[in-house]
Every structure is written in C-alpha cells, then in structure tokens.
C-alpha cells in the first residue's frame, strides 16, 4: 500500500475495485466505515458481483470480468473531457511535461517496437526525447503534442462512455455516476483512495490495470496525500515481507535483482541496474544500487565477498528467464524438474489447470512438504475419487511431509500491507514433533553443507562461505536473523559531509539505509528493512499506539519500511512551494527550514522547495510516471485487451488487429494455448475468488470456519439460472476446456447479466475454498477450470477472467 490501513479513515471517496475489502480484509474495512461515519465519505464498488463490500457501498457498478482497463480508461476520459484534473499537482509531481521521442506510436492497439513472433516489445521507441546532457526534455506549458499530457489525452480520447459501456457491460448512467464521484476529488481538499487486490492482479494485463488506477489517482492529485493512494490489499500475512525479501524467481532482497546471462561481467550488471537521473532535480535513489548490493553480499558471504571477487558476484545464479509457477509446472510436466519443496503452499488447489499440476507433480522424483496442516498437495498421490482421480501405484514420487509450527508457536516478524513489520511472540508448544521453519531450513542447510564438506561436489564454494554465525547453527534465532537483515557497520562509518562525525561505529546495528556503503564496510541482508532492529532495540516490537495528529499516523507502533515512512510519496501532499494542499490533512510540508509534518518525509529533509527536488525520489524522472518509457512489457500506457478466454468474439476497442484481441506481450505455452475454450462451447464468463468466511484452503481444516461455510457452491445469476432450469440449491456441473467441477448452485440477483453490445454476457462466481482434505464437505479445486496464462510482467495467472459452461449435474 502507498498509504496504510488506518489512513483510509481520512478519505472522502473510497473506490473498491478489483478487490472485496469487506470480505477479504474485514478489520481493515473498518476504516472505510469510519470514513463513512465520521467524514461523510462515499464508498463506490465496481465488481462483477454485488459483494458484501457492495452491500456497504453508496454506489455499485457491475462490470464484465477482465474489462477493468476500459472502465478506468473511461473515467480518465471523463476527467480530461470535463477538465476535472488537479493541474497544479500534475505539473508539480508527474511527468506530464516530459516530451516523448518521435518513435513512439500506437496503432490498432499495438505499440511501436512489437515483434509478433517473439510476442515482445522493444521499448527503445518509447523513450523520452533527451537533451545533450542526457536529461529528458520538458514543456511546462503542456502544449507540445508529444508531451506526455497530450499523448495521454489522445490515448484516452478513444475510451468514450458509450464504448466503455459496450466493453464492460456497465449501464452508461451508472458509469457516469462513478466518474462524477471520482471527479469530485479533483480538488486539493477532497481525496480518494483506491483499495484493490487480486481482482486486479489476477489478469493477463493485471499490472497495467493497476497502472491505470495509478494514472487516475495522479490526475486527481490523490497520491502521497492523506486518505489517498494506490492501496494493494495483500493476501497473506507476510506476502509483503517475502516480496520485500526477494523470494521470487529472479529477485534478491530489497527489490534488487539477480544477474542475467547477459550480465557477463559485474560492471555490466551494475550499469544495467544503476539508473541515471532523467532530470537535474531527480533524487534517483536507485542510483545507490551498488551500496545495497554490496551490503547484501557482505551479509551473505562476509569475508568471502571482497572487492577482488566483485563481492562474490559469481556466487549468485544468473537467470536466462524467469521461473514463475506457470513455467515451473510446465517444465515439471515435461519431466525437467526432479525435486520440489512446498513450504506452506498448496499448488494442487491454488495453481491454474489442476489436472496439469497433478500430472506434473507425478513426474517429480522427490517432493518435500513443510506445513502445519495436511494439505491436498501432500496427498496428491492418493486417489480421492472424482476430487483427485490418480493411480497411486504409478506415482513414483517420494514425498516427505515435515510438520511445521503455526503462528502461535513461533516468534518473529510479519510485514502487513501497510509495510509495518510487527513482532509476535510464541504462546504455546507445537504439537507432536513439529519444528519452526528456521529450524527446519537450518537443519537442512547444515546437513547439505556437511555433505559437501565430506563428499565434495559441484561448485560448493557458496555453500561453504555462506555466513552462518548463529549461536545454534541448526536453529537460527529470530533476533539474530532480524539483526542480520537489518545490517551492521563492519567498520566506522564516517559522515561524508562532516568528516569528523561517525555515523555508526564498527559492529553497531545500522539505524538507516542512508548509512550503507558500497565499499564493503556495511552489511545489510535487506536494505529496505534497515532500521527494523537497531542499537535502540527491536523497533518491530514497539507498541506505542499514540496518534498525535489524529490522522492515524502511529509512527511509534512497530516499524514501517522504508525508515518508518507511513505514507509513501508524502512530499506530494504539498505543492511545489511546500505548502500542504489540504491544511486539515497535512502530511509533509516545508516549514521554512526543513520538511516536517506527521510522517517521516519520503524526501530529503533539508531539500528546500526552490531546489525543485521531485517528490518521487525512486524514479529516474523524480516525478510520477503517467507515461512509463521502461518497466512494462506491454506498453508505456495501459491499453484495454480482452482476457485470453473471453465471452466476446471481438475486442471492441481495437477490432481491426488480430494481435490486439488479448495481451500481445503475454506469454502462453503451446500446450496451454491449445486448451483455450471458445465462446461457442464455453459462453459464460467466470471468475474465482474468496469468501470472508474462509482463508484460501486453510480454514476448511477448522471446525469454526467449516461450520459457517460448509460446502462448495457456485454463484449463478437468476436470469441464467432461469434459462438453464437451475433452481436454488441444485447441484450443477461447471466445465471449462480444461476440466469440470460439481457444486451447489446459489442462484442470486447479485450477479446480473450484462449487455456488451450485441452479446448478453452471463457471469458465474466460483469461490475456491474446498478440496478433498479438511473438515468441510469434500469439494473440487476450482482451478480445475482456470487457464495457465499469466500477466505479461509478473506471470500472475488469470484466475479472474475465463469462460465456462454450466448445466444441471
């Protein structure tokens, strides 16, 4: 989240789209009801279903699954055509004035630089026009036809209300009401917050949907302000933490990246990942990449990482491509993966195309499960009739199931959506012989290291040299690990501006990542977390919940990364001159000497307004990127494309170009593309999601939750049900090109048929909480139906938009 949970109470308008906060984050949703009760805020929900969030909304708009970019593009069109823009904010804090190079173009939904075979773009043509010093040219008057603002206007001129209504199926008048309510926050004294979750990420153009939301918020001046922001409501208690710690295929901790094959030399890697500022006044904080990287390598390899061996650069694996879960299980399906470790994860239920996942798992030589619960994946080799029809004797996988502790039996920190690292304590002994995760990993690693020491083996150096200074080698303690990722001074750190002052003495825990060095004199396992465990103690365990400014800024509760900033880009809560947009909701402003306020400035504290330092310190531009020349796989501006399985036969935005029907840059393997359903056999749009009573597949193992939602069901609109002769409570069979499931039908008025031009689109809801294990009634994995195709940038599977057929069972 750019802001945080409690800050939602400061909002005047709340848009919940691509998420269902009332059901998936009820205690966070409290702050929506607080905003409604105490600020007269208005809640609007845009969702294919009338969810329990919609039950609380002042305005609900139905939408066809997968057409979010068209909807948001339409709102942007409305803002521009009705001049409902916060122009001062746009000029001060966005790259609207930047001038784009001539090479850029968009025709029939395809941007310049597209290679049709490789389904890849070369972003070179999207770059800014640079001056002789390498800085981007700007036109403060915003008149230049190739400045970002004009290109944006031109781009979204096509998203007229009528076309949006035809693509999304949302009635025009309802759509206009959403636009008016959003437009009402174009003034400095009214802010809108957007709360989204997997409803936006689970698409083949998920990242671009989120960028469209960000553009919308920037045009309204709602980023970096109290009650504003782009707020991703993360799914798991520590999904934010593990993302920050770089537990993703090509990542390193702190959003650093692993080297590629093409980074043959250390300098290639460094130059590729250390950006140059695009404006003279841009902080361009990523320019400190070497400090973070070297500190990481010192934390991991200690003395073995020296300047001479480029800080143990070759100890890091280089990647030829990402190994996301769709690619992984495709390789596994082809027998190219021998071993797999599932720690607290249930792929058989949560990955797309369950039959393919099951077939892939059967090819494994060994599978290791580390989990507190008995999951479906651990029993993938058992035949459970229609719910898991496999031949046990033919499956040769050796499966190890290791019992781990649950939250109550372990100590450590979790990072929530608001980037708060919160420490928790152990309250009970684990059942039986269960062990904590650090102990299991510690035991495993020390044995592997011992085997390499005894028997030798291939490239043992990184295993031998990995720092392991834990008092109990087989069971590293949470404090030791927290101190390691926080980072230490390996030598006295001197203040570059004032040579006599020592910022941190040798051996001390560092207080901020500003003290990190690229000369090997500092270590930090995860630079964004520096400041979590300092000489002043465990900041994550702080419990002072005082809120001195009444804006919900509880800076002394736990620790928020980066350096306890609670609202990111909070300098943008003031104008160019440093004066707050809204005097009643001040975040960070210039008080004549310093940038101060109710939050730790996301900005150089002593940067005076005259210096014109941009408020977005991590971008090379120094300001927010309406137009993104780099970073996105499918284009600098979000464009609407259909999901890979769409009930429509044509993309009404770009009917002319075959490649522009769905995301031209999304990767899909041949065998998965062959299993895409056509509207003729599978006419109904479907989306899979979670209910408030259950947490994914965990809580079906819990009696309390099994009672309140005992049996698998699908939600069917009453019009479609009448057509198909399905009565409420009947058993129905839902099938896609990849398989079928059976469940009870909940016939409801909360799912309406949508008119998308000449096609009437029915939508079906598929909650995914059941399986062949647990206390609740046995059920099917809903992902038996979902397609194996992911977002072009993150490869997050398209769980939220595919097509199915339905009939009485």
């Amino acid at each position: 989240m750019t802001n945080h949970w409690v800050d939602i109470k400061n909002a005047d308008v709340i848009l919940i789209m691509g998420g269902n906060a009332a059901e998936a984050h009820p205690c966070g949703f409290k702050w929506v009801t607080e905003a409604k009760a105490h600020r007269k805020a208005r809640l609007m929900v845009v969702d294919p279903r009338f969810t329990r969030s919609a039950a609380m909304a002042d305005l609900y708009a139905p939408i066809r699954v997968g057409s979010d970019i068209a909807f948001l593009g339409g709102v942007i069109n409305y803002l521009i055509s009705h001049d409902k823009l916060q122009m001062e904010y746009i000029k001060a804090h966005t790259n609207a004035p930047f001038i784009v190079g001539e090479g850029y173009s968009l025709k029939d939904g395809i941007f310049s630089g597209y290679d049709a075979e490789k389904r890849k773009y070369d972003p070179a043509s999207w770059g800014y026009e640079l001056d002789k010093d390498g800085f981007a040219k700007v036109d403060p008057t915003l008149e230049n036809p190739r400045c970002v603002f004009q290109i944006l206007k031109q781009h979204y001129a096509r998203y007229t209300p009528e076309l949006v209504s035809k693509i999304c199926g949302t009635p025009v008048d309802t759509f206009k009401k959403v636009c008016e309510l959003a437009a009402s926050t174009a003034t400095p004294t009214r802010n809108m917050t957007i709360m989204y979750a997997l409803g936006w990420t689970h698409h083949s153009q998920g990242s671009e949907i989120i960028r469209t939301g960000a553009i919308l918020q920037l045009l309204l001046g709602n980023i970096g302000v109290a009650g504003g922001g782009m707020n991703a409501l993360r799914g798991h208690s520590n999904i934010q933490g593990l993302t920050d710690l770089g537990l993703l295929s090509t990542s390193l901790p702190g959003y650093l990246q692993l080297p590629k094959d093409s980074d043959v030399k250390y300098d290639d890697y460094m130059t590729r990942l250390t950006p140059k500022p695009l404006r003279p006044n841009s902080t361009n904080y990523w320019g400190n990449y070497p400090k973070f990287h070297v500190s990481l390598m010192k934390a991991w390899y200690g003395k073995a990482a020296t300047k001479e061996n480029n800080w143990a650069f070759d100890y890091l694996p280089r990647y030829d491509s990402g190994y996301d879960i769709i690619k992984t299980f495709d390789l596994m399906y082809d027998g190219k993966i021998n071993g797999y470790i599932c720690q607290g994860f249930n792929p058989l239920s949560s990955f797309p195309d369950t039959h393919k996942i099951s077939a892939a798992l059967q090819k494994l030589k060994f599978l290791v499960i580390i989990d507190p619960l008995a999951t479906e994946t651990s029993n993938f080799w058992q035949n459970h009739g229609e719910h898991n029809d496999v031949k046990t004797e033919d499956i040769k996988t050796e499966v190890f199931r290791l019992p781990s502790t649950c939250f109550a039996e372990e100590e450590g920190s979790l990072t929530n959506s608001s980037r708060w690292l919160q420490w928790h304590y152990k309250g009970a002994e684990p059942p039986g012989e269960a062990k904590g995760d650090p102990e299991i990993i510690g035991e495993l690693f020390t044995r592997i290291r011992a085997l390499y020491a005894k028997e030798g083996g291939v490239f043992p150096e990184p295993i031998r040299d990995l720092t392991w200074t834990y008092k109990i080698p087989t069971s590293p303690s949470p404090e030791e690990l927290a101190q390691e990722y926080n980072g230490r001074a390996l030598d006295d750190i001197v203040d570059p501006k004032k040579k006599d002052t020592i910022l941190a003495k040798k051996g001390e825990l560092l207080g901020t990542f500003a003290h990190l060095r690229d000369d090997g004199t500092t270590s930090a396992g995860c630079w964004v977390y520096t400041g979590a465990y300092t000489e002043k103690g465990n900041m994550m365990a702080r419990r002072d919940n005082s809120d001195p400014y009444g804006l919900g800024q509880t800076l002394n509760w736990a620790f928020a990364w980066p350096v306890n900033r609670r609202v990111l880009y909070n300098r943008a809560s003031s104008d160019a001159a440093g004066k707050p947009w809204d005097p009643k909701r001040k975040l960070v402003f210039w008080n004549g000497e310093k940038n101060v306020g109710s939050d730790v400035p996301d900005y150089r504290p002593d940067a005076a307004p005259e210096e014109g330092v941009g408020a977005f310190i991590l971008t090379a531009e120094g300001v927010a990127r309406l137009f993104a020349p780099t970073g996105m796989a499918e284009g600098p501006l979000p464009e609407h494309y259909e999901p890979f399985e769409s009930p429509l036969k044509v993309n009404h935005l770009n009917p002319g170009h075959a490649d522009a029907f769905n995301n031209p840059a999304a990767r899909m393997f041949k065998k998965d593309r062959a299993k895409l359903g056509k509207p003729e056999q599978f006419p109904y749009a479907a989306t899979s999601y979670g209910m408030t009573e259950h947490f994914h597949g965990w809580t079906k193992h819990l009696k309390g939750n099994a009672i309140i939602q005992p049996e698998q069901f699908v939600e069917v609109g009453d019009e479609l049900a009448k057509e198909k002769g399905i009565a409420n409570g009947d058993r129905v069979k839902v099938s896609s090109a990849r398989g079928h499931i059976e469940a009870v039908a909940v016939v409801t008025k909360r799912l309406r048929a949508l008119d998308c031009g000449d096609t009437k689109v029915h939508q079906i809801g598929l909650p995914n909480h059941w399986g062949f294990m647990g206390l609740a009634k046995k059920g099917f994995s809903v992902n038996t139906l979902s397609p194996s195709v992911g977002d072009a940038n993150t490869q997050t599977p398209e769980y939220k938009a595919f097509t199915v057929n339905i009939e009485k069972a």
Partner: protein, 195 residues
C-alpha cells in the same frame, strides 16, 4: 433426556424412594444457580499477529498456567488486541476462529514419508527425513548444476529443483530460506506473491 428401558425401571424405583424421602424432608437442595465463571481469570497472555490476511491484526493468546515449567501452556482462547491501531481488538470470522487452527485435527505432528508407489504414509524420525532430503538435493544439484551456459558464460544455476516459500512464515524464516536457496543456485523459487 429420553427414556430407555433400563432408565425406566431405575426411575420407578428411584421415584418411589425419592418421593418417600421427600416426605421425610430430605428434598434435594435447589442447585446453586450461577453464570459461567470468567474463563480468563488466571490465564497467561501472549501478543501475536493473525497469520491470515495482510491487515496484520494484533491478537492476544490466552494460555493455561502461569508459565510454570510443569504446566504445558495450552492456548484456550484467542481475542483481538485492543491496543493494535488497525484492528483495535476486532477480529474477522477467520481471526476470531484462530483457536481452531491451533487445535485443528489436520495439524501435522510427525515427519512422514510416502515411499515411491506406496499408498500410505510412514512415520519416520526427523534425522532420517532431513538426511534423505539433503541427499536428494545434493544428488540432484551435483547432477544438474549448470556452471556455464551455451555461450560459455558463467551462470552457476540449478534449475532442476524448486521451492515455494510460505507467505505466512516470518521475515526471519523467509530471509534464511532465501539466503540458503540462493547459495545453492536455485532459480525455481517463488512465494504466494506470484499468485
């Protein structure tokens, strides 16, 4: 309670006896009416965070005993932490049911292995389980480690064994897992952020 045959006869004899007793003034005292005793009166409180969604609600776990050595601290109740600035003591239907997670009959208790082709779990010791896994991993790494790519550049990667890390494990466990798996050269490595 419903009458069955054995109870019927027992009743008749008791009824006769009982009524005669009543006549002699020995009527059973009206039971002491009492609301339920407050069950948290002497429990130990431990602060924790709900493991489910990313609101990160604060919870208080009440466990038996006062941490005396001989008393195993069993959790008997979990409630919201009123001091936590986000949930202020509230919990959603999942958080409010956390006790059933700690107590779930599906909790795994012992390391088990399913041998190739077998159709049942076999309980094994931690040592055996970890040794066999370590051997599997080393064997696969040694067999399939890619030191150089087709062009001959150093890549040092191992892509034939992968891992999915738990998004409910702590930052400390996550950091250690990341550090260990990268030291082995693992690229097939993800967590729930991917889905």
């Amino acid at each position: 309670m419903e009458m069955n045959r054995r109870q019927f006869f027992k009743t008749c004899s008791a009824g006769l006896g009982g009524s005669s007793l009543v006549m002699l003034g020995f009527s059973p005292l009206a039971a002491q009416a009492e609301t339920r005793q407050f069950k948290l009166a002497r429990t130990t409180e431990t602060r924790n965070t709900c493991p489910y969604c990313s609101v990160g609600c604060g919870i208080i776990m009440h466990s038996l005993g006062d941490k005396a050595k001989n008393a195993t601290s069993e959790i008997i109740h979990i409630e919201g932490d009123p001091d936590h600035p986000v949930n202020r003591g509230t919990l959603c239907p999942k958080g409010a049911g956390l006790l059933d997670f700690v107590k779930s009959p599906s909790r795994l208790k012992f390391p088990e292995v399913r041998e190739a082709g077998s159709n049942e779990w076999k309980r094994i010791s931690w040592d055996e389980a970890l040794d066999r896994v370590a051997k599997h991993m080393k064997a696969d790494r040694d067999a399939n480690f890619t030191a150089k790519n087709a062009k001959g550049d150093t890549v040092n990667r191992w892509i034939t064994t992968g891992m999915l890390a738990a998004s409910a494990s702590s930052n400390e466990a996550g950091y250690l897992t990341g550090k260990v798996m990268r030291s082995l050269g693992m690229l097939v490595f993800d967590n729930q952020a991917r889905v």
